[in-house]
């Protein structure tokens, strides 16, 4: 073969590569939201899918469900009821029922990691109650589930209601012996609408059944030093007879471990977002505000810590430092048991850095 023909031949071959591995949209149906729950039989997985259909030139979302011995088998089963094969490579949200999450959920999400086409940066959430309700909410639901859940969780991350809970991050923490996972916790509220209720606490790769609700979840995010773009806390300042809302700018956490005692020290920089009393122009008021907020946040942090210790859920990653530098304490026994009985002291110092454009 001449030297000139060879590059042309190679280029031709390169183009051929796409022939075998192309995946056309006309052959598949993209699934943006998927739900997993236990099937009726022991060891069976039931999967729900929300996928787009085109009716009268508009996009509607239909649901399909399937059961099988694994997530993949359930998906195959569900594909039998749809015109095109269900494709989860662009999945945005995976919901797992709280019952299923009470055992190690990794086997159910393995298929997402094994197939390279699949997106592993999708959100994962734990849902309370019947999974079917989340695909057909009983209340007056004005949105489409396929749009609603991704946006709800994105907003949750933005406002520190939850920390980033992607599938990849969740799987990594399920295998990490030194820290426990938290996942967004969804409920169907009194109006029959799906809502973000807080975070689900995991202990050693399974859901403990305990959750931290809204404000506590924000505080947990601060304690983990995983802030979203906006982190706001509101308190009733009785001495001043006024509410005060602050925006957390930065949290600096220091963890000291000595003689089986842990000290968590937080330096929190804040900006005041709301204070109708309007006397922050006085230096004394600013110092009083710092003192008041330090005491309140410390009290709340201690409450959150107690809940996690009761749940044997080391969501703050105390175990990371213990495992790395205090092997005697780490080897004392099962870390979750040790964590639940550990004496942890919390110290909070709030620094009022900004008062916004009003004093």
């Amino acid at each position: 073969m001449s030297k000139r023909l060879l590059p042309a031949f190679l280029l031709g071959l390169l183009l051929l590569g796409g022939c075998w591995d192309e995946a056309q949209y006309k052959d598949i149906t993209i699934v943006p939201v998927m739900g997993l729950t236990n099937g009726d039989k022991e060891g069976e997985v039931k999967a729900y899918f929300s996928y787009p259909t085109f009716e009268e030139e508009t996009i509607k979302y239909a649901q399909s469900e399937g059961t099988g011995v694994s997530t993949r088998a359930a998906r195959e089963d569900a594909s039998h009821h749809t015109m095109e094969a269900l494709d989860v490579s662009h999945l945005e949200v995976l919901m797992i029922s709280s019952d299923m999450a009470k055992k190690n959920v990794y086997p159910e999400i393995d298929m997402f990691f094994r197939t390279p086409r699949n997106r592993i940066t999708s959100y994962v959430a734990v849902v309370e109650g019947d999974m079917k309700q989340y695909f057909n909410p009983p209340g007056d639901f004005k949105s489409e589930v396929a749009n609603y859940y991704p946006e709800l969780l994105r907003t949750g991350v933005l406002y520190t209601y939850i920390t980033v809970s992607t599938m990849e991050n969740a799987a990594k923490l399920l295998f990490d012996e030194t820290i426990d996972l938290t996942l967004p916790y969804l409920i169907i509220d009194e109006n029959g609408l799906p809502a973000l209720d807080g975070i689900a606490l995991f202990s050693n790769n399974h859901f403990t059944g305990q959750t931290l609700r809204k404000q506590e979840a924000i505080l947990a995010g601060m304690m983990k030093n995983k802030l979203g773009k906006y982190t706001r806390l509101s308190y009733e300042w009785k001495e001043k007879d006024s509410p005060i809302t602050v925006q957390v700018i930065k949290v600096n956490r220091k963890l000291k471990i000595s003689d089986e005692r842990v000290k968590m020290k937080f330096d929190i920089d804040i900006s005041v977002d709301e204070f109708p009393k309007n006397d922050l122009y006085k230096k004394q008021t600013r110092r009083e505000a710092e003192k008041f907020l330090s005491a309140e946040i410390k009290k709340d942090f201690e409450k959150v810590l107690t809940t996690t210790q009761e749940a044997k859920s080391d969501v703050f990653g105390v175990g990371r430092k213990v495992h790395a530098f205090h092997q005697d304490l780490w080897k004392k026994g099962d870390w979750r048991e040790t964590y639940s009985t550990l004496s942890i002291e919390i110290d909070v110092k709030v620094n009022l850095k900004r008062t916004s454009i009003l004093d």
């Binding site: 060879l6 190679l10 075998w20 591995d21 997106r119 940066t121 990849e168 990490d176």
Partner: protein, 336 residues
């Protein structure tokens, strides 16, 4: 006569040494040495520096005969088969699950065949194609920084020597191709000793060490057991707005990198044949490429490519330490 500038020489050596292995060497090293891996690699780095310093001191005495040259051709052919089999297996699981492996194999080897049928300068300057890809790769990797956990580098347990030695043995994969130094050094017209050599050593070390440390910091140690290409998984975990799969971008960079490395190995086989056997047959060049496609296709499965990657370290020690030592010593004795 072939002449090389210092930059050409080091770039060629860097591509040959990093080539295919930089995506996979961490897996086995971490499995053996656990969190101690980064300390083990620092020790490996010291050994590497000592080795190239010794090469620099004695390269003029490295004058292989026909037998030794023939053995090196066989060793490089084995390396090519190992690389090709692993490259094609990895491509088939990450990008082209349905494309027949022979097609990807022909494309990769075809580049080498084309380059090796043209002028020597074409191959020598081929590593320059990697240069623009290097900062892109580093940029992609650094996107993982927010997910790194520094405590994952600890605890260190340096009391049990066996896992450390096993780790050190696994780290030898990053030494592959170091013998090119002995073959190419005599063609370099500029000063190499001293600072230039130290800069090369630092580049080699920091390249491998950075990737290793990123992997250690990104994943819990027990997750590495089932991640054969943890580096690819790190990039797959990055969410960016401009592309759905960042790992694909990186995979193509790695493929180009590997193709250049494989081409250089083929080049060495062709040149060794030309210099030591006075054989410039183009038919043999085509035939050897064709044969290596066939053999590599046979080994492009999980078990077989793993087998080759496991055994390649043994001949590597022979061809980078034992044989150069014998050749240099024999040459010294003959001089006396």
């Amino acid at each position: 006569m072939l002449t090389l500038s210092r930059i050409q020489f080091f770039l060629l050596l860097f591509v040959v040494q990093t080539g295919t292995v930089f995506v996979s060497f961490q897996h086995r090293l971490i499995i053996e040495a656990k969190t101690n891996s980064w300390v083990v690699f620092i020790i490996a780095g010291i050994f590497h520096y000592i080795q190239i310093l010794l090469y620099e001191k004695y390269y003029e005495r490295f004058k292989p005969g026909r037998l030794v040259a023939g053995l090196y051709i066989a060793y490089w052919s084995l390396t090519i088969v190992t690389f090709l089999a692993y490259l094609n297996y990895t491509l088939s699981v990450w990008i082209f699950p349905n494309t027949p492996q022979i097609v990807t194999m022909v494309i990769i080897v075809g580049v080498s065949l084309y380059a090796n049928m043209t002028r020597i300068e074409t191959v020598i300057n081929l590593p320059a194609t990697i240069l623009p890809l290097f900062p892109i790769f580093i940029l992609f990797l650094f996107m993982a920084i927010p997910d790194l956990v520094w405590t994952r580098l600890f605890p260190l347990d340096l009391t049990d020597i066996i896992p450390l030695l096993k780790g050190l043995f696994m780290a030898q994969a990053t030494f592959l191709g170091i013998e090119f130094y002995l073959f190419f050094r005599k063609y370099v017209i500029q000063k190499v000793k001293g600072m230039p050599l130290f800069i090369y050593q630092s580049a080699w070390f920091f390249f491998f060490f950075t990737i290793l440390v990123f992997i250690l910091l990104f994943y819990p140690i027990n997750a590495i057991d089932f991640l054969p290409e943890p580096l690819l998984n790190i990039l797959k975990s990055q969410k960016v707005t401009f592309v759905e799969r960042l790992d694909l971008f990186f995979l193509f960079i790695w493929v180009i990198w590997s193709v250049v490395a494989i081409t250089l190995y083929f080049f060495m086989c062709v040149q060794a044949r030309r210099i030591y056997f006075n054989n410039e047959s183009k038919f043999l060049t085509i035939l050897s490429h064709f044969l290596l496609i066939i053999i590599s296709s046979f080994f492009a499965t999980k078990d077989r490519s793993n087998f080759l990657r496991e055994i390649i370290v043994y001949p590597q020690l022979l061809f980078t330490i034992v044989i150069p030592l014998i050749v240099i010593l024999m040459n010294r004795r003959n001089k006396k």
